[in-house]
């Protein structure tokens, strides 16, 4: 279901935490809200979910103005930043809560919960309590709980924020697959640009309560509207006084520039270069590229655009 935010602002007393946000979120897609910590991502999500009241502005979901509608009538599945499990309820009770609130028959709840637990691969943990789950399992439980009410919109607040790198990437591809299967309009909040680039069909970059840029991920990556968006989406460096991506540069042996340092990060190699003009720049190469150049620290090289 498409979501329209118009002139949305939130003020907690002092300054505006979210300022004049206008946004159209396409139906059935996964939209990522990307921004640094404190940029107002959670606040936007909470206003859409009906947990915080906007100071000004309207929220329209599929043509219905929900700005003054209570959270429980919005039909939104919300996964909170810290999962917010009901800790005195078993996993199955957690997942079935939304249905039991709606007065669904016990037998049907049991069946639906069974299906959902299968979907999030927690069938064998149905009778555990949240405290007995790992972080990743708790996250999947929260997701199943939100999906149980068959929401028209799914809001995910940093769903992988507190997980280690392995579980993170595992859950990420799982979520991608899940979204392709269910096609629920989803808004995902993250401050991890890689995650956003990988998952999102639409990318919204936020900074200090404002939207900096909206677009397809590659579009935003390649044509950032300002230096904030550019540097937030990936590393940047200076070349001839222009900010560009270090992977758009190459080094070749011999020339006026000098290699001052080489950082070997495994697949990625970062080569710091002082140019003849005195400009400090750096070049990002893959390991095979780097091995081909055969350069070492202190070598005279020349840096150019690809």
């Amino acid at each position: 279901m498409p979501i329209q935010l118009s002139n949305l602002s939130k003020n907690y007393g002092q300054g505006a935490v979210v300022a004049d946000v206008n946004l159209e979120i396409p139906s059935g897609e996964l939209t990522a809200l990307l921004g640094p910590s404190g940029s107002g991502k959670t606040t936007v999500l909470k206003m859409i979910g009906g947990i915080e009241k906007p100071t000004t502005g309207r929220i329209v979901i599929e043509g219905r103005d929900v700005t003054d509608v209570d959270a429980r009538y919005r039909d939104i599945g919300y996964c909170f930043q810290a999962y917010a499990p009901f800790r005195h309820m078993s996993v199955a009770k957690n997942v079935g809560f939304g249905l039991s609130v709606r007065g669904t028959a016990k037998k049907e709840i049991r069946q639906r919960v069974g299906e959902l637990l299968e979907l999030v691969r927690l069938s064998d943990k149905a009778n555990r309590y949240p405290a007995q789950l790992s972080g990743g399992e708790r996250q999947r439980m929260a997701l199943a709980r939100a999906l149980a009410i068959e929401p028209q919109v799914l809001l995910l607040d940093e769903p992988f924020g507190a997980l280690d790198a392995v579980v993170r990437s595992e859950l990420r591809s799982w979520l991608k697959e899940l979204h392709q299967r269910l096609h629920v309009t989803t808004i995902l909040v993250t401050h991890d640009q890689e995650e956003a680039m990988d998952l999102a069909e639409t990318l919204v970059v936020m900074h200090q309560g404002r939207i900096e840029q909206v677009g397809r991920p590659l579009e935003v990556y390649d044509q950032p509207v300002n230096s904030f968006v550019q540097s937030f989406l990936g590393p940047t460096t200076l070349f001839d006084g222009v900010t560009i991506r270090p992977h758009d540069l190459v080094v070749s042996p011999s020339g006026p520039d000098v290699v001052t340092n080489i950082d070997d990060l495994g697949f990625e190699i970062r080569i710091a270069v002082t140019r003849a003009s005195g400009e400090q720049t750096w070049v990002q190469l893959s390991r095979p590229e780097f091995l081909d150049t055969k350069i070492a620290s202190g070598d005279a090289v020349s840096v150019s655009r690809r």
């Binding site: 959270a71 009538y73 930043q81 800790r87 005195h88």
Partner: protein
């Protein structure tokens, strides 16, 4: 966990280091345990044992000269214990104490939870002021509370409520002295509660009442039980205020007042015997509440 952490270096370090480290661990455990149990013994266990010993009329024959109580010849006067606790007046007093305390602790658990809720969740003028009111029953000598109650709810009551020599008077006094317990046990739990859990319930369609019933109340069960246990024990032990407002008549004599009356007649064994029963009841309720709270809490605590 501690063991595995401490033993990891065993692979890489030489044996003496490991041994001395292990020794140090044993020594520190023994000292910590020893200090704690010595302190507890002197402050709590010794008086409790002495009360029970006096209650059953235990008297040692120390002519053997040994310092160890196990070597002494012990005489007891168990029939006096039975007589003391079998007296109808004693039973009346104990029963009165128990049901009044149960009632007061129950009412205060509910009211305490509501007060804690208002103190944590609402914002209003004078909140800090009211907050400091809660602890007054801790600070005020209960005999003073008794004097105030006699003035306020006695025969000369300015508000025309005479609770003197009535169980209702005792009840009001017990409500007063046991109020802080449930407020102070529930309050920190409410402060630490993650509001997003309630928000999650709301987004899933729960009404405010359903959120309260399914999310908030279950997480308050354990602190409420703990508060209940403490409040009950406090009520059973209360003496100052209820001895005054009870007026010294048989009908309103609670266990603590009864014990006091016995000591006034130098009936030490009888006093200790009734105390033993009182102690037993309090310990049962306290451990029961703690156990129940813990069993409710264990797997659910994050």
């Amino acid at each position: 966990m501690v063991t595995s952490v401490n033993e990891t270096p065993a692979v890489s370090t030489s044996p003496p280091t490991v041994r001395s480290r292990r020794l140090r661990r044993v020594v520190s455990t023994v000292t910590a345990g020893g200090l704690l149990s010595t302190y507890l013994s002197i402050i709590v266990i010794l008086p409790v044992v002495a009360t029970i010993a006096t209650g059953v009329g235990a008297s040692p024959d120390t002519t053997s000269g040994s310092w160890w109580p196990g070597d002494w010849v012990w005489h007891s006067n168990f029939s006096a214990f039975v007589d003391a606790i079998g007296a109808p007046a004693a039973w009346h007093a104990i029963w009165l104490s128990v049901w009044l305390s149960l009632l007061a602790a129950s009412v205060n658990t509910v009211m305490g939870a509501l007060i804690a809720w208002v103190l944590v969740r609402d914002r209003f003028r004078g909140q800090k002021f009211i907050e400091s009111f809660v602890d007054i029953p801790f600070a005020l000598p209960t005999i003073v509370a008794g004097v105030v109650f006699i003035y306020l709810y006695g025969p000369a009551s300015p508000v025309h409520v005479n609770l003197f020599e009535a169980w209702t008077g005792l009840f009001v006094a017990l409500l007063f002295v046991s109020l802080p317990f449930s407020v102070r046990t529930i309050q920190p739990v409410l402060v630490a509660m993650d509001r997003d859990v309630e928000h999650a319930a709301r987004t899933l369609g729960a009404s405010p009442w359903r959120v309260t019933r399914s999310v908030i109340i279950p997480s308050l069960v354990s602190p409420a039980l703990a508060g209940f246990g403490l409040a009950f024990a406090r009520c059973v032990g209360e003496f100052g205020s209820i001895s005054l407002i009870g007026g010294g008549i048989a009908r309103t004599t609670t266990a603590s007042t009864y014990i006091y009356n016995l000591t006034q007649g130098f009936l030490w064994q009888g006093a200790a015997a009734v105390s033993t029963i009182l102690l037993l009841i309090s310990v049962t309720v306290l451990t029961g509440a703690t156990w129940f709270a813990a069993s409710f809490h264990d797997r659910r605590a994050l």
